[in-house]
Structure formats: structure tokens, C-alpha cells
């Protein structure tokens, strides 16, 4: 009978809800949005920039990019980006001469400060570029890093 089935479903739903309330069943944690395939898998710098919303970024001294001038090991190049621009929501880092220029992007929410440190592989000597999104606009700073030993197998 339909009635029986309905009652059964109701009962089951209630039981599951109760487990949620009791914290016995944890909802599956949702990871950060979707990986921007068009931007990350682009081999072309211009394309990677525009796919990540960074095209036409204005040079700004409020984007503070710290990177070594010379990297002895291209496999581990420490990069720090800090934004002094109010309402910064995102920092993206590009290694312009790498096969895939977009290396990483970071979205800041709640109490996060717009500053991030990450270590990147440089295939060869390259310009590293940070792009900051703030108030719907893009700002950028860049620095040249001379690599004396390769990071991607020579």
C-alpha cells in the first residue's frame, strides 16, 4: 500500500535527520568551487590571464610580490604575495615561461588576511606575476627570477 510506503519513507527521513542533528552523520565536506580548467590548463599566458579574469590588470605597488632574484633550485622557488588593496578577494600567481603559466589561485574569506606564501617550480628563468582581484578590478606586480638549475627535470 502507498500509505504504508509513505509512512516508511517519512520515518526513514526523520531518522536520518535525527542522526544529522546528533552529529552522527557528517555531511560530505564541500571543497572549494571548481578548478578553473580553462585557466589552469592553458599553455598560453594571455589566455590563462583572461580565463582567470586577470586580463588588463593595472600595475600596482600595493601588490607586494616577494621572490628571489636568483633561484639556485628551480624546483622550489619561494613566493610571497601580499595585497594592500582593500576588499582583496583573490590572489593568482603566474610563472609566465612555464608550460602552464597559472600556478595557483587563493580566495580569501571571513578573517583571512590577503597574504599567501607558496613554493613553485620554475622550468627555466621566468617572470613571476601576481594578480590581485579587489572590488571587481585586477591589479598586478611582477618580478624576474633567474633560475640556475631547472625545476622540471632539466
Amino acid at each position: 500500500m502507498n500509505l504504508t510506503r509513505r509512512n516508511l519513507l517519512k520515518g526513514a527521513g526523520g531518522a536520518i535527520a535525527a542522526l544529522f542533528v546528533a552529529g552522527l552523520v557528517k555531511p560530505i565536506r564541500v571543497l572549494a568551487g571548481t578548478w578553473n580548467e580553462a585557466a589552469f590548463q592553458s599553455k598560453d599566458l594571455k589566455e590563462a590571464l583572461s580565463a582567470s579574469g586577470a586580463a588588463g590588470a593595472a600595475d600596482s605597488t600595493d601588490v607586494v610580490l616577494t621572490a628571489p632574484g636568483i633561484a639556485e633550485d628551480g624546483a622550489v622557488v619561494p613566493i610571497v604575495v601580499r595585497s594592500n588593496i582593500p576588499d582583496t578577494t583573490r590572489v593568482s600567481v603566474f610563472v609566465e615561461q612555464n608550460p602552464y603559466p597559472l600556478a595557483a589561485s587563493f580566495d580569501f574569506m571571513n578573517e583571512a588576511l590577503p597574504e599567501v606564501g607558496v613554493r613553485l617550480k620554475f622550468g627555466k628563468t621566468s617572470t613571476v606575476r601576481a594578480v590581485v582581484m579587489a572590488g571587481g578590478k585586477a591589479y598586478t606586480a611582477h618580478k624576474d627570477v633567474k633560475v640556475t638549475a631547472g625545476g622540471c627535470g632539466g
Binding site: W35, A75, Y100, F108, E111, V116, G117, V118, C152
Partner: protein, 105 residues
């Protein structure tokens, strides 16, 4: 598959400095081992929650170094607040690590 993670979260004044060190090969898929291409295997998404609130959502590419070391800063956290980091790689593998905010000794 186990991927150990170490997290340090230290309060300096009002700012908590978070450092995460994650064991992961971060293979680019561009490297060759003899004649064979080593398949790409890298973390693509990583989140940081402090005191139950999401503070960082990051998307990574294969250019991030092997065994990633990441630094973040958060305001307003208190000693004892939980710091949770989750990641997922391009093969669908997931990793998790947690720690609590402490004061430097």
C-alpha cells in the same frame, strides 16, 4: 593512501600565522622516467577552516612544488581554535589535517 600533513598555527598579537606542510608528489605529467611519462598527480583544491569558518579556498596547478608548503594569515582567531585543512588531487584522492591555534613558546 596516507599523505601526512603538518600544520602550525601560531598567534602573534591578533594575527595567526598558519603553515601547512603536505606530503604529496605533485607530479607535473611533464617529466619522463626513461621513456615513460610520469603521470600527472597533483593537488588541485585546498581549503582552510579556522574555528569552523572557511578562510581560504585555493586552486593549485602542477607548478606547486613537491610536498607543498603553504603560508596563510588570519585575524581574530583565539588560542585553541581548530585549524582544518582539506585537499583533493587530480586523481580524486583526498587529504585532511588539523591542528589548534597556539602561542609561540
Amino acid at each position: 593512501m596516507p599523505y601526512p600533513m603538518r600544520i602550525r598555527a601560531q598567534l602573534h598579537g591578533d594575527v595567526t600565522a598558519i603553515t601547512a606542510i603536505i606530503s604529496h608528489p605533485m607530479e607535473t605529467g611533464l617529466k619522463k622516467d626513461g621513456d615513460k611519462v610520469v603521470p600527472a598527480h597533483f593537488i588541485r583544491m585546498l581549503t582552510v577552516d579556522v574555528g569552523g569558518k572557511r578562510v581560504i579556498e585555493s586552486h593549485l596547478n602542477m607548478a606547486v612544488s613537491t610536498n607543498p608548503v603553504l603560508n596563510f594569515k588570519v585575524k581574530g582567531a583565539k588560542v585553541g581554535d581548530k585549524v582544518e585543512i582539506n585537499w583533493e588531487d587530480n586523481l580524486g584522492e583526498k587529504g585532511f589535517g588539523e591542528s589548534v591555534v597556539s602561542v609561540p613558546e
